[in-house]
Subunit: 191 residues, 4 copies
DNA sequence: TATGAATGAGCGTTCATTCAT
DNA sequence: AATGAATGAACGCTCATTCAT
């Protein structure tokens, strides 16, 4: 019997790729460096991923689902919508501040030419739980009844831009500033 | 006498670069293609721009100042702050929808490693007029007294993400949706 | 397992480079031609040598140590200094006539801007054995007590220029002429 | 009547080319820089010299005849051969130390692929006066009756190599060392 | 003659991918 | 499946030369 494809190797490749993207950006990402960082031979990379594009697309989906999953871990059916929303927003903001490159990697490349159409579709599907939460709140007239997609973009755009700003400044926002950002967003969508 | 340097060439190079970078992304941008698209020899490109990085940086500043300049054309000292803000926001949204290529280029690369620090500084300086308007409104307690920089990022991030969404969907937002976006933003920052 | 690095390739690259640089000079040396001449892909060249400068520097050291090594093979501790010197001189002259390409390469580039400082230092170190022989002869008052470095340059300069002359003329010196050259040099340094 | 080719411009081009070669070596010599240094437009260069090779060849002849001419200025019919030889040797050594790049330019490129055959022939002709002096000394049995060409190469090779050595060391030889070099040479050729 | 903007062939080098082991 | 040496297409950029003025 021959050995089968090794999930552990895939995890190592993902980790290596992300670490390199986070350190130097996508432009500096070299397949040879990924292999080295993952303690694999270059050839081995090509057993697990068809080519560089494939690696990026798979990593993208991996990260995006991880992100949504982490956010959804804050979810509790007992919470009011306001509490749910607040937890999700702070989770999103926190994750984005903690791993700005990771978030920028995810968001910068969503609509980029690097992603295949099927990756984009799968990515869209991942945010369904978040859209559902907004839709339910709209049924209860807790937030404006605008298109949930639009509301979501409004929220995420705001967060990402602010995070990018602090990242560029190489400073951290105070808790006060973060609260202010939340207020702007909440006041923008509340009924 | 000899052939005189032709400023029109710079415009052609900018147009060609923008078109190519938006079509295929920076990764796919080839200097040879820029030259061909601008109907120039490759060498000519290097008369006007030191290298690829320089081209991107100069194009960035060019587009960003053009954007602010177009927005500020809507400004009138007679207007109330609300009217001023509304005009500016709709100008920004309109420009972003009209020239999504330009706006996405600007925002994709604002904080990217491709931009030199001096380009980033010059870029920051360009938005000063917009920050001033927000500061004056704060003195009159018309909007929240959060950091103007943060408010601005919140506003721009929201617009860009929405525009990206429609651009990716290849659809146009209705006037109604645009108004809704404005409402979310205005309600987020109003006092 | 994979294909193992092939030391023979380095020899082929050295041979190809030397042949090309001597035929057309450094200015006309193209990495692509070296690869072709050595029956390698261009990329392979860059596995073994960092860049063109590195190739030239390594080749230089290789040839210079080969030259000194061949000369020193004539050395025998039993010989008188005069015999030792004569053997070394004739070896140097003979090698230079036999491989004018190699010798001219070495001398053309010794002090050239193409060579890194560390290459120059390593090159200096290689001639230590020759300097030692001169120093010992000075202790026995067999040759003038001028700086050994200067004496060595005087000797080598003379040989090289004569060799260059015959190489340019595409003729060979008679044994008589070679003896005359030796006499000039020996009479110049003898005590 | 139109203006004719301007000898002054040729002098400026020669001076500019030499200065740049002396400063940075031939590898760094750019036609555009020559034009700038000579305060001319690039196009003008090509009115006076067919191409870069032509410029180098003409400059070479210019410098070599200047060198011989400067050496021959030390010549006086009243001097004994020894005095004549000594003056010439010291002139050659002095010129070489004073303008090492100039001398290396002349000597390095004599047999180089940069020079056309007719340039080489003309160059050979220029050293005729020096060969004559040696031949006359041989008739008087003052020096060995070896081939004057060989004697001349022996002398020049020695000087050039020593000069190269000091140039590389970035030091100046003491008067004592220079005298020693002369002694080696004189003792090598004297009868 | 003089100018210098424009040209484009051609170079050094990189790096995703292949393939012999 | 795993390896990593080998490959070569393709890029950014230079600079000698041309040519419209």
């Amino acid at each position: 019997m021959t050995r089968v494809k090794d999930d552990n190797k895939i995890a190592r490749i993902f980790a290596a790729t992300l670490e390199l993207v986070l350190k130097n950006g996508y432009l500096e990402l070299r397949m040879a460096d990924v292999a080295k960082q993952a303690h694999l031979a270059i050839g081995t990379l090509y057993i697990y991923f068809k080519d560089k594009e494939d690696l990026i697309n798979q990593l993208f989906i991996h990260l995006k689902s991880e992100k949504v999953s982490l956010m959804m871990q804050t979810y509790s059916a007992h919470d009011s919508f306001y509490i749910t929303f607040k937890k999700l927003w702070f989770a999103y903001f926190g994750l984005s501040m903690q791993y700005p490159h990771k978030m920028l990697f995810i968001e910068q490349y969503v609509y980029s030419v690097l992603l295949r159409d099927d990756t984009k579709s799968r990515s869209e599907a991942l945010i369904e739980p978040l859209l559902s939460i907004l839709e339910n709140a709209q049924k209860e007239h807790l937030i404006k009844d605008y298109s949930p997609q639009i509301i979501l973009r409004h929220i995420m755009g705001s967060v990402l831009e602010v995070v990018k700003y602090f990242h560029a400044q190489k400073t951290q926002p105070s808790q006060n500033v973060i609260n202010q950002c939340f207020e702007m967003t909440w006041n923008g969508i509340r009924q």
